[in-house]
Amino acid sequence: MRAAVIVFPGSNCDRDMAVALAAAGADVSMVWHKDAALPDGVDLVAIPGGFSFGDYLRCGAIAAKSPICKAVVAHADRGGYVLGVCNGFQVLTETGLLPGALMRNSNLKFICKTVDLKVETSDTAFTEGYNAGDIIRLPVAHHDGNYTVDPDTLALLEAEDRVAFRYVTNPNGSVADIAGVVSANRRVLGMMPHPERAVDAGHGGTDGRALFRGLVGQLALS
């Protein structure tokens, strides 16, 4: 299973993401934002956390228009898998691959702590390593994680079982406590919490491991 981790100026979770994917068995390559094409045979594109382009204009807005993002959108349009974490989630909403937007946290503070999340669905390649209803603990570290989406789209997300994770205690004002959502074809996941920061006992928790193991295992089969 081949994975590509996109690196923007200001990405800071790119290596953590690569380590987490490699530990789960993926063959990982790093791809610079100015590249116009993904490496051949990539199954999964991971867009890491950080502060791409300094969060100028809006979080993720400039990154979403970078040359590599055209290739990422084409990959997703072909049915490829994409994982966006934190800033990566913001980039995915800015590209339009996921609905909604991430606004400033409702308390206006940068939130950096480990939170409880409820796994809402195991019916995605990303979450099949969990059971729906599981409570897992993952770190969050963001200033703009306040997910918002119009009521009609929210109803659609709920009806189609596309909320992947919800906060047990909402830290940032996100509508319906949403921490992560998947695309209509369930192959694009965006989430604010950091699974790649919870894959090693030294991280203080390993609840993110099942996401990477499940994902890599699933894609290796297909």
Partner: protein
């Protein structure tokens, strides 16, 4: 030519920063501030003859996130 783009959160989208500014005004003793909305102004220095539809295109593609923001173009 120059153009100025005003970007605001859409009506109905909660503006946490505007709310914080409203509270701060209240704590400074300014009474009767019922609401504050915060946006941004972007000034563009453009080639003469750039059409308004091109500027709108810039807004739709980059300058505003039309999921949550609306914009107004002012050609100067």
């Amino acid at each position: 030519m120059k153009a100025r783009v005003h970007v605001m959160l859409k009506n109905g989208v909660l503006d946490p920063q505007g709310e914080a500014v409203r509270h701060a005004l209240g704590s400074l003793g300014f009474e009767g501030v019922a609401g504050v909305r915060q946006g941004k102004v972007i000034e563009l220095d453009l080639a003469d003859g750039t059409s308004e539809s091109t500027i709108n295109d810039m807004c739709d593609k980059l300058l505003a996130n039309t999921v949550i923001e609306s914009y107004r173009v002012e050609v100067l």
